[in-house]
């Protein structure tokens, strides 16, 4: 067996031995690359977390827990966050919530500022309640477990800084002893802790794709309530905006009476009408003057010439591409 480098770049290489399967009866080594977690924006837990890349596609927290247990013993592993989950979290923090209320962009921005201010003011209780509400409105997942993109990353949070040290040492040791930890070994991965893949996984998915009618209705109702409230809030903000100058001191002029801002459909209708009017006006005035006719003729000639040139150019391109024009034999 060729020797495997223990370190690659700033990563430690952790070979994992994957047991053979009946459908692919080979003993395979998967390589996990591990280093200390040093994100661009530091967080409080960086010191006791590890950054992993090239995690196996069927990774779950339980898998990683078992893996780390086999390296440094049980009890050191706290949690794992996978690449796709982190991305979700990121995009959520950006748009506050998946439930966006359609508004002109600047209103939406102001609304956001408004609500975050409000949230800060009213404290964690309010935020907690909002999260609960959103969770109730969320649709059930249709998968018992996700797959990770091939070659993706994860961050593992360990019990303390010492554990990080220990893990890295244990990894270095595997290279000396050539004893690689096993992936998904049943000794560490208790039966039933991880939902199975394969046909059961797909069957479970099919079952989850048709959720119970009442439960579904409940999420829909929860959503409607939440949405109605958000809309209400948005409307209020928009109303207030009529009188409130923005950061640069301008007051946005919004159409509509005192009751509510103008609806979008109305605006679009007006725009269409205006375009129609313009079109009509234009039509009436074409070919009215003689110079227009003359110019049109000129344009037609130019067009003819252009098309002729185009054809020639195309032919030239064809010749370059095909070589010669020869009938099929």
């Amino acid at each position: 067996m060729p020797s495997v480098p223990a370190v690659i770049g700033e990563f430690s290489v952790l070979p994992i031995s994957v047991p053979p399967l009946p459908s692919f009866p080979r003993h395979v080594i998967h390589y996990l690359y591990v280093r200390r977690n040093t994100p661009k924006i530091p967080t409080a837990t960086d010191a006791r977390s590890l950054f992993l890349t090239n995690v196996p596609v069927d990774s779950t927290e339980a898998h990683l827990r078992a893996l780390f247990a086999s390296l440094v013993g049980a009890g050191r592993f706290e949690s794992a966050t996978f690449e796709d989950e982190r991305k979700d979290a990121h995009s959520q923090s950006q748009s506050q919530s998946p439930i966006d209320v359609a508004q002109p962009a600047h209103v939406a921005r102001l609304l956001q500022a408004h609500s975050s201010k409000k949230r800060k003011r009213e404290g964690d209780d309010e935020a907690e309640r909002a999260r609960e509400e959103e969770a109730a409105a969320r649709l059930p997942s249709t998968w018992t477990r996700p797959l990770r993109r091939s070659g993706s990353t994860a961050v593992v949070l360990l019990a303390d800084e010492k554990s990080v040290e220990q893990v890295l040492r244990a990894i270095a040791k595997t290279h000396k002893t050539n004893k690689y930890p096993a992936w998904g070994g049943s000794d560490h991965l208790p039966e039933g802790r991880v939902p199975p893949l394969g046909s059961l996984w797909l069957r479970a998915h099919n079952r989850l794709s048709y959720p119970d009618r009442e439960a579904l209705q409940a999420t829909v109702d929860a959503f409607s309530a939440l949405f109605a409230r958000r809309e209400q809030e948005a409307a209020e903000v928009a109303k207030r905006l009529r009188n409130e100058p923005d950061e640069d001191g301008f007051v946005t002029v919004t159409r509509g009476g005192r009751a509510a801002p103008a609806s979008r459909t109305e605006a679009e209708e007006a725009k269409r009408k205006m375009l129609d009017r313009n079109e009509k006006k234009k039509e009436e005035l074409t070919n009215f003057y003689r110079f227009q006719l003359r110019e049109r003729k000129k344009a037609e000639q130019a067009e003819l010439l252009k098309r002729f040139e185009d054809d020639r150019r195309k032919l030239e391109a064809l010749r370059v591409k095909r070589g010669k024009f020869v009938p099929d034999a």
Binding site: L21, A204, D311, L315, F325
Partner: protein, 1083 residues
């Protein structure tokens, strides 16, 4: 006036460069034909021969031949038999007498004297040969001296006996002269058995460094008769000039011998036509080019001067053109102007040919007005009265019909505004029977042997004529509705033979009958003949009908109390009907087809693979009807919220949730309206974002059919549009909105229009729907279908029907399938959009803008990562609705290339093997080309098809999957309703694999039943330097390998390579019991 000076100014600047360009632009005509003209010029340039280089040494050789022939001593006249045996003994050369040979005891005298004239004729002198033609020949005619002929030689083949002997003497002399420098053989001039000629092929002794442009040409020595030697009055078309039978006994019948007579006339016309062509060339500058175009056009359609090639070749084309230039049917007035350009002449002649079928209406040139009408019985008539020659004498009625048909097709192509006119006219080879005919049968003549008659073209020809006449009566009866649009017969050519041998009869020379269907009439199972009325005329008609159809004809009563002679056929498909009728008619009249292998029918190979049946249509109709019921059930729902609510929330997320609420409500309403018939389930889509469609409603009818319902909301589209246009939004959000918008439009706008259009088209083209099924089957068989939308395949097939050039729309699934493959093989999707004029009147500007759009795509995305195939219709001009899915090209460039390669291989196979090809071979996937094969476990897959709301599959797990119930009807779920299937498990599995391994692997899979997934490693994802963001699973490259080469290579970073085994092991884990075996090839 003030406009005058402007005018003058314009005159001064007349030689302006733009004006010149404008003039040349105007010269080439309107825009659509301009491209055609330019391309045709290009074609002429590239096929033109460099005569000096190509025929180097030919002139010298001709002079040598002339010298050698002149050096032959004149001989004494001897009786044929004696002279022949003398020649055979002395030179070991057979005299190539036509059949029947001169009688042993006949006292015809044959002899040799110096030729009266030598002349080089044909395309060598007119310089109209092209690089791509089949065999280049230099024709030299030797005019027989008058002294060795007698006036009465026109009778009973005597002239041809003398001519044959003359040729043999020359052959002997030339063989002596050339020695080993050339190979000599006999062949029939244009396959005419009366006229053997001598072919001289210079032995390939050209040095290697010689000009590559030099051709392997042949020189043909053609003896002919002196012009005007035979009395013209005796050689009229109706003359009967062969009066002696095979055995020498006098043939009392005075049946006309038009072929014999025409051959004799043609023998005297060589020089006259040479002159005529020269004149035409001189008079009309574009004549030669027009002849070359004609040669190409004919050649691509399999036409040639030889009898087996239809008897209409370059010579006939040129003569016809010359006659039209000289003065057409109207006396004195030339039909065509000599100032026309080559393309205009070409188009004019195509027009001419498309208006006249020589087999149906005689076409006469010149002032004389001979009575040619009755001669149509013997063959097509194209009569040049100045020379008394029927130019079409080598044509059969079928080849005249085929020529007419091809001309009609080409004319409609040249009239089409939209189609590419150039390629189908000149480039595409269209002589493959499987592409042209819906039905091809081979008739073995040896087994169907017949007594010989008076036609000099031999037995096979006579049989062909009989077969043709019978089939035409049987299949193209105008009264009953023509079943066949075209019946064609292909005869076999006689190969050149050695000087010392007799001409070899082709070993087994089957006649090939090709039939083009009228799809509606050919599907008819009951033929209604003439009505059996009391009048004399009706009686006669019935009599004749019964005479032809024999016992098959029976009297039947139809509606409105008419009683008719009727034929009832037992077959059901057009193909089988055609075969049944053909076997019956030929068996009845020619007593062939009773033996099993006398008639072998081809052309049904592909359709029979799918066992397409006319009954399939009723099944489709059942499904359609079920849909109608479903639609009515929905419409009948009272208080359907959709109708009431025109107000959707102005938020995508909210719209999607509202849809769920609607679906739940519709489901409830449907179940209450028909409680025992309908079960509904709201399902969740496999969606990624809250803004895309989240749900659907599966409606399952107790009677079998089930439907999936999704809700269309207009507002969703305008909200998405707004997001796409919103410049303030973040890029990734706009990108996402673009993708969602595309999906929205595909699903709710384009798909309904597409379906509607396809269903109308299937009614318009009966062969369309079976063709689509066949082509889909082909895509499945080659594991391509996973990468293609069905709509794309449907449009590709439809294109072959809408733009069928150079043919007409396919009339059977078989031709449709072959032509679709041909199209796919030829489609250069890198630079050509596929445009379907689904509205029938797509303006040229629209086409141009579609082409421009593709160009623009190629400019922004030259590697084709986002857009590969481009398919636009009038309803969907964006061109990417069916070829991109979720922002990904479908298919990718790799797969599209594979599609083209597979189609090319298939068409090559079809071309090489002809009708005898075992069509199953076209559908055999070549698994060797995949790096990895993932074999799915069919049993495990089936187990995933059924799930139950109340049972968690994990609990059920080991109990039922491992041990199937003993009795299927008694398993534990009896009485429980299974859930619908949201998506087929194998498809779902594959989608996951593709999403997970989009970088390193490309997966291939066919239809629903395909349990083998093929995969290819992406060559672009391989060894690389280590980075944090890896596109897939990598392993470090072994340390010692690295240390040899680059000790100091650390700054470059460490390289890693794809950990293929780990990936496959992961796939095995994902699939678990679904994957039976992963097969790795070529590692």
């Amino acid at each position: 006036m003030d406009s005058a000076p402007a005018k003058r100014r314009k005159l001064d600047h007349r030689k302006d460069a733009t004006d010149v360009a404008l003039e040349s632009a105007a010269l080439t005509g309107i825009s659509r034909s301009r491209a055609f003209v330019l391309e045709t010029d290009e074609l002429l340039d590239s096929v033109r021969l460099d005569y000096g280089a190509a025929f180097e040494g030919a002139d010298g050789l001709l002079h040598r031949i002339k010298g050698a022939v002149e050096g032959i001593k004149a001989q004494e006249a001897l009786p044929a038999a004696e002279a022949t045996s003398k020649l055979e003994k002395k030179h070991k050369i057979k005299v190539p007498f036509p059949d029947p040979r001169p009688h042993e005891n006949s006292n015809y005298k044959v002899t040799f004297a110096k030729p009266a004239q030598f002349n080089v004729v044909g395309s060598y002198v007119s310089k109209t040969m092209i690089t791509t033609q089949e065999g280049h020949g230099v024709d030299m005619v030797l005019v027989l001296p008058q002294e060795i002929l007698q006036e009465k030689d026109y009778l009973d083949l005597r002239y041809f006996y003398k001519r044959a002997y003359y040729l043999a003497v020359i052959a002997a002399a030339l063989r002596k002269e050339m020695g080993s420098e050339a190979e000599l053989s006999y062949e029939h001039l244009n396959g005419n058995p009366l006229c053997p000629v001598l072919a001289i092929q210079p032995t390939a002794s050209k040095p290697k460094d010689m000009d590559k442009r030099m051709l392997d040409y042949r020189i043909r020595i053609i003896p002919c008769a002196p012009d005007g030697f035979f009395p013209k009055a005796k050689l009229h078309l109706g003359a009967s000039l062969v009066r002696k039978g095979r055995e020498g006994d006098a043939n009392t019948s005075s049946e006309p011998t038009p072929f014999y007579t025409s051959t004799l006339v043609a023998e005297t016309c060589f020089l006259s036509y040479l002159k005529a062509l020269k004149q035409a060339e001189k008079k009309c500058a574009a004549f030669k080019d027009a002849c070359i175009l004609g040669r190409i056009w004919l050649q691509q359609r399999g036409f040639g001067g030889s009898i087996s090639q239809g008897g209409f070749g370059h010579f006939e084309w040129a003569v016809l053109l010359a006659l039209l230039l000289q003065g057409g049917e109207n006396k004195g007035q030339a039909a065509l102007s000599a100032s026309l350009s080559s393309t205009q002449l070409f188009k004019a002649l195509i027009q001419f040919l498309s208006m006249t079928n020589f087999a149906e209406k005689p076409c006469v040139f010149g002032s004389a007005n001979p009575d040619v009408e009755p001669l149509l019985e013997y063959g097509p008539v194209l009569y040049d009265s100045a020379r008394q020659l029927n130019i079409a004498f080598k044509m059969g009625p079928w080849s005249a019909a085929l020529l007419h048909q091809h001309a009609k097709w080409t004319r409609s192509l040249l009239a089409s505004r939209a189609a590419d006119q150039f390629n189908p006219t000149f480039i595409l080879k269209t002589d493959v029977p499987s592409h042209t005919y819906d039905f091809v049968a081979r008739i073995d003549i040896d087994k169907a042997s017949r007594e010989s008659g008076s036609d000099s073209r031999g037995q096979a020809w006579q049989l062909s004529t009989q077969v043709y006449l019978i089939l035409r009566r049987a299949l193209a009866d105008k009264e009953m509705g023509e079943r066949a649009r075209l019946i064609h017969i292909q005869t076999q050519a006689c190969a050149p033979w050695h000087l010392a041998e007799e001409p070899k009869a082709p070993k087994s020379s089957p006649l090939e009958v090709g039939i083009l269907f009228d799809p509606v009439n050919m599907a008819r199972t009951v033929d209604r003949g003439p009505s059996a009325g009391p009048s004399a005329q009706e009686k006669e008609e019935c009599e004749s009908f019964r005479r032809f159809w024999g016992d098959k004809s029976e009297l039947r009563r139809f509606e409105r109390d008419t009683i008719r002679e009727t034929l009832i056929w037992t077959s059901t498909t057009p193909f089988d009907l055609c075969e049944e009728i053909m076997r019956y008619a030929l068996g009845l009249h020619l007593r062939i087809g009773h033996l099993h292998d006398e008639i072998i029918a081809h052309g049904n190979g592909v359709p029979s693979l799918l066992s397409l049946k006319p009954a399939d249509k009723t099944l489709f109709n059942v499904a359609k009807k079920a849909f109608g019921t479903f639609e009515r059930d929905i419409r009948d729902l009272e208080d359907l919220p959709l109708r009431a609510s025109g107000k959707w929330p102005e938020s995508l997320v909210a719209i999607q949730r509202t849809k769920i609420a609607f679906l739940l409500m519709i489901g409830r309403l449907l179940e209450t309206s028909k409680p025992d018939e309908i079960k509904t389930h709201v399902g969740l889509e496999n969606s990624k974002y809250e803004t895309e469609n989240l749900s659907f409603l599966d409606v399952v009818y107790e009677s079998g059919p089930s439907f999936r319902l999704r809700i269309h909301s207009d507002l969703e589209e305008s909200l998405l549009e707004r997001q796409v246009k919103d410049k303030t939004a973040e890029q990734y959000l706009r990108q996402r909105a673009t993708t969602l918008l595309a999906t929205f439009r595909r699903l709710y706008t384009n798909l309904p229009l597409h379906n509607q259009y396809m269903s109308t088209s299937s009614t318009r083209f009966p062969a369309l729907s079976p063709t689509i099924r066949l082509v889909k089957h082909w895509f499945n068989a080659h594991k391509l279908s996973y990468h293609f939308t069905e709509e794309f395949i449907e449009l590709a097939v439809l294109h072959v029907f809408l733009t069928p050039y150079p043919w007409d729309a396919p009339t059977s699934a078989s031709t449709g399938f072959h032509r679709t493959l041909l199209f796919v093989a030829h489609w250069d999707w890198r630079s050509e959009p596929l445009v379907l004029d689904t509205s029938g009147e797509m303006p040229a500007a629209e086409r141009t803008s579609i082409a421009t759009r593709l160009e623009a795509w190629r400019k922004i995305d030259p590697n084709m990562n986002h857009t590969v195939l481009f398919v636009a219709t009038a309803q969907e001009p964006s061109g990417v609705a069916w070829t991109t899915l979720d922002g990904q090209p479908k298919p990718s460039k790799v797969v599209a290339t594979r599609m083209t390669a597979l189609a090319r291989t298939a068409t090559r196979l079809v071309r090489e093997q002809g009708v005898e090809l075992d069509c199953r071979r076209l559908f055999v996937p070549s698994l060797r080309e995949y790096d990895v094969l993932i074999h799915l476990n069919g049993k495990a897959l089936r187990s995933t098809l059924k799930t139950y709301a109340a049972i968690d599959p994990e609990d059920e797990g080991e109990n039922s999957v491992g041990r199937p119930a003993k009795f299927k009807n008694l398993d534990e779920h009896t009485g429980m309703e299974p859930l619908p299937l949201a998506q087929h498990p194998a498809e779902l599995f594959l989608e996951h694999l593709s999403a997970t391994y989009g970088g390193p692997l490309v997966f291939f899979r066919g239809g629903v039943e395909d349990n083998t997934i093929g995969a290819i490693w992406n060559p672009q994802v391989q060894k690389r330097t280590f980075k944090v963001n890896l596109p897939t699973s990598y392993k470090p490259v072994a340390a010692q390998k690295r240390s040899i080469g680059d000790e100091d290579g650390d700054d470059k970073g460490e390289s890693v390579e794809v950990n293929k085994e780990a990936i496959l092991s992961e796939i095995a884990r994902i699939g678990a019991d679904l994957v039976e075996r992963i097969e790795v090839r070529g590692v």
